[in-house]
């Protein structure tokens, strides 16, 4: 079966589709606001003319490329191209500022590829059992899991726990605006129809990270912008031998494995997406590392962990989509449509009826790493020069792209206004040194957390015993408590060491 599938891949169209897909994906992903969903939806009409295997490979190439592409702008400009690369900016941008942009990009690329390959292997070996595992996560289990994720972000995100908690709550509160998930009635919309959709994630992301950067730059005025200090990035990048990249990658193998596992697992579950696992694995890597204090100031492991995780989500997200025909998020929903148009209806019969095609697609997913690495390295050569552009030329362009990106999500000017509002908030908070990632995570997890909690209580007729009776929930609660204790112990030890010194 695997060999037949491999033969199906020996086709020049497969190669062309893979190259085009990955290239388009990286470019689209690098532009703030444009994400894989839009690109895939637009390419679906193109795939009508292709045969199934190249058509699907084109779309999956875009998906993989876009998730990685977001990290390029995150590292070089501190402006994440996709929400999931916001975690990459935490250490990637400081590295770029220290003149290590090339190294950061390469680590991001290799970690991405590692995450991809890991999750694809999982997909090939364990699609069916994992799909049934995903089904075990009902509302009660999801509530516990999201609480756990929030705890990790607050406890191990770095910086003051109180500040992180405050920002998370601000994000959760912002997520309340819009229609209530259970009754469908407006909350805090002040009578505005446009506000009923709530504060959409992508405009808020662009505002918090891109627009606030522009405002910070305007505040600083004509002074030397942060970007200019990274000029030596290019020169040092050419001199650093490639072997160093692989060696440092080997040193962080455990982090890569854990992060990929987190990404794959969260990807299998519906509706969480790739941003949360990126931050969760960043938190894990930081808490595990012996030099956790270096995180946030240009630690390569802080780039590798989120990149491995957010790319591993792609393989995980395909598990329930292919095995059950149940897409977990917007991107997989669009890919599901593409599969159906090619006559490959995902669901219980897919593997029986179209085994060769499916395994060919799986193998191609792994082989897509090759164009990913080649195109990625080629693009770095050009992309690294972005850092040399004068801020006074760069930031007007970023502002223009931010307006366009916010508009493109829903074709609505309200979203552009939300983007500006988030930009102002982000600007003020960054000046005061409050961490923005917890705010983003709060906004992402708030609405589904409320929905899951209330769904769980609806199914149990309002009784909280539903949480107690589930072993998964109890397990997650125990792990969350252990994390709280672990964080407390870490703080205690650090405080004692400080006093001793």
């Amino acid at each position: 079966m695997l060999l037949d599938a491999f033969h199906a891949l020996l086709d020049v169209w497969v190669l062309i589709a893979a190259l085009c897909g990955v290239a388009i994906g990286i470019v689209i992903g690098a532009i703030p606001g444009l994400g894989p969903t839009l690109a895939i939806a637009l390419l679906i009409p193109v795939t009508f003319t292709l045969s199934p295997i190249p058509a699907i490979i084109l779309l999956l190439g875009v998906y993989q490329g876009a998730i990685f592409g977001g990290s390029i702008s995150a590292i070089l400009l501190n402006v994440p191209g996709t929400p999931s690369s916001a975690a990459t900016a935490l250490d990637g941008h400081p590295m770029a500022r220290q003149g290590r942009a090339g190294e950061a990009l390469r680590i991001a690329l290799y970690a991405s590829v590692f995450g991809n390959v890991f999750s694809c292997l999982v997909l090939i070996l364990l699609a069916q059992p994992l799909a049934s595992l995903a089904l075990d996560f009902g509302p009660a289990q999801m509530t516990a899991l999201m609480t756990f994720a929030l705890a990790i972000i607050v406890l191990f995100g770095g910086g003051s726990i109180l500040d992180a908690a405050l920002m998370t709550l601000v994000g959760v509160a912002a997520g309340i605006v819009g229609l209530d998930p259970i009754e469908g009635l407006p909350r805090f919309t002040f009578g505005s129809f446009a506000a009923e959709d709530g504060l959409a994630l992508i405009p808020v992301l662009i505002g918090l990270f891109a627009m606030s950067e522009v405002l910070l730059q305007a505040f600083a005025g004509r002074q030397q912008g942060p970007a200019e200090r990274g000029i030596d990035a290019v020169s040092s990048q050419t001199s650093s031998p490639r072997a160093v990249g692989w060696l440092s990658l080997w040193k962080m193998r455990v982090t890569l494995l854990i992060s990929s596992a987190i990404g794959t697992f969260v990807g299998i579950l519906p509706g969480i997406g790739s941003t949360v696992p990126a931050f969760v694995s960043y938190g894990f890597a930081r808490s595990r590392s012996r030099h956790g204090a270096r995180f946030g100031h240009g630690e390569p492991e802080g780039v590798a962990a989120p990149e491995a995780a957010n790319n591993a989500v792609t393989g995980g997200a395909l598990v329930p989509m292919l095995a059950l025909g149940i897409p977990g998020d917007a991107v997989t929903a669009v890919i599901l449509g593409a599969f159906m148009l090619q006559g490959l209806t995902p669901g219980p019969f897919l593997f029986q009826q179209h085994g060769v095609e499916v395994y060919a697609i799986f193998e191609a997913l792994i082989l897509l790493s090759i164009p990913c690495i080649l195109l990625g390295l080629a693009m770095f050569r050009g992309a690294v020069h972005v850092i040399r552009i004068q801020p006074r030329h760069l930031f007007p362009i970023i502002a223009m792209l931010a307006i366009f990106g916010a508009f493109s999500v829903n074709n609505s000017l309200f979203d552009v206004a939300v983007m500006l509002g988030a930009g102002v908030v982000g600007f003020v908070l960054r000046r005061a040194g409050f961490p923005l990632p917890p705010l983003l995570i709060g906004l992402i997890l708030g609405p589904p957390l409320e929905q899951s909690l209330r769904q769980a209580l609806l199914t149990s007729s309002g009784s909280a015993t539903i949480f107690v009776h589930s072993p998964i929930v109890m397990g997650l609660v125990v792990v969350t408590l252990l994390c709280v204790l672990g964080a407390a112990y870490q703080r205690y030890r650090a405080a004692r060491r400080e006093r001793a010194a």
Binding site: L42, N78, L90, G158, G159, L162, D163, A165, L166, L169, V170, V172, A173, I176, D180, I182, E183, L185, P186, R187, F188, T189, F190, V214, L215, A218, F219, A220, G221, Q223, P226, G296, Q390, P391, R392, H393, F395, P396, I397, A399, M400, I403, F404, F407, L413, V416, L420, V424, R430, R431, A432, G433, F434, P435, P437, P438, L453, R454, L458, G462
Partner: protein, 158 residues
């Protein structure tokens, strides 16, 4: 998890600076939210068990007040970072108003004009005085974005 090290102009501290201001603002907004909760959230009774639509917002807003107050109290003696130069705030405010004006005018002026205007004025604010970069570059970028959006992405730009 701070992304941004203190920006070059953020030197100096003051008793009641940014952090206190932000925490107080969050506290105030959360209190306002609690007060308007009844009016802003209607509950439609299908006879469902469990918490209603007001439960979660109330919980979050109370937690927010609690944490903001806690932070204010714990940091009552730590000096805040100063607000910073007035000229900086003026420039940032100008940039905000500029984008706001562009959003307001976008439906009448169209995407290209308003977005190019944002680019041009912003370039000027950031100190670029050469026409080639301050006018031509934003204009070309705006045209390029609009072209790609209309023909490549089929977006209905205003």
């Amino acid at each position: 998890m701070s992304v941004e090290p203190p920006s070059p102009t953020a030197h100096g501290t003051s008793r009641h600076g940014l952090q206190t201001l932000i925490c107080s603002a969050i506290l105030g907004l959360a209190a306002c939210g609690l007060l308007t909760l009844q009016a802003q959230v209607t509950v439609f009774d299908f006879g469902d068990p469990g918490p209603d639509a007001r439960f979660f917002p109330r919980l979050v807003l109370w937690l927010l007040i609690l944490v903001a107050a806690l932070r204010l109290w714990r940091h009552r003696r730590t000096p805040d970072s100063a607000l910073g130069a007035a000229a900086g705030w003026a420039r940032a405010l100008a940039a905000m108003l500029l984008v706001a004006a562009a959003i307001a005018a976008m439906n009448t002026l169209g995407f290209i004009v308003s977005v190019a205007a944002v680019g041009i004025v912003l370039a000027w604010l950031l100190g670029e005085r050469r026409l080639r970069f301050s006018v031509l570059l934003p204009l070309v970028v705006a045209l390029a974005i609009a072209w790609v959006a209309r023909h490549g992405l089929h977006l209905p730009l205003p």
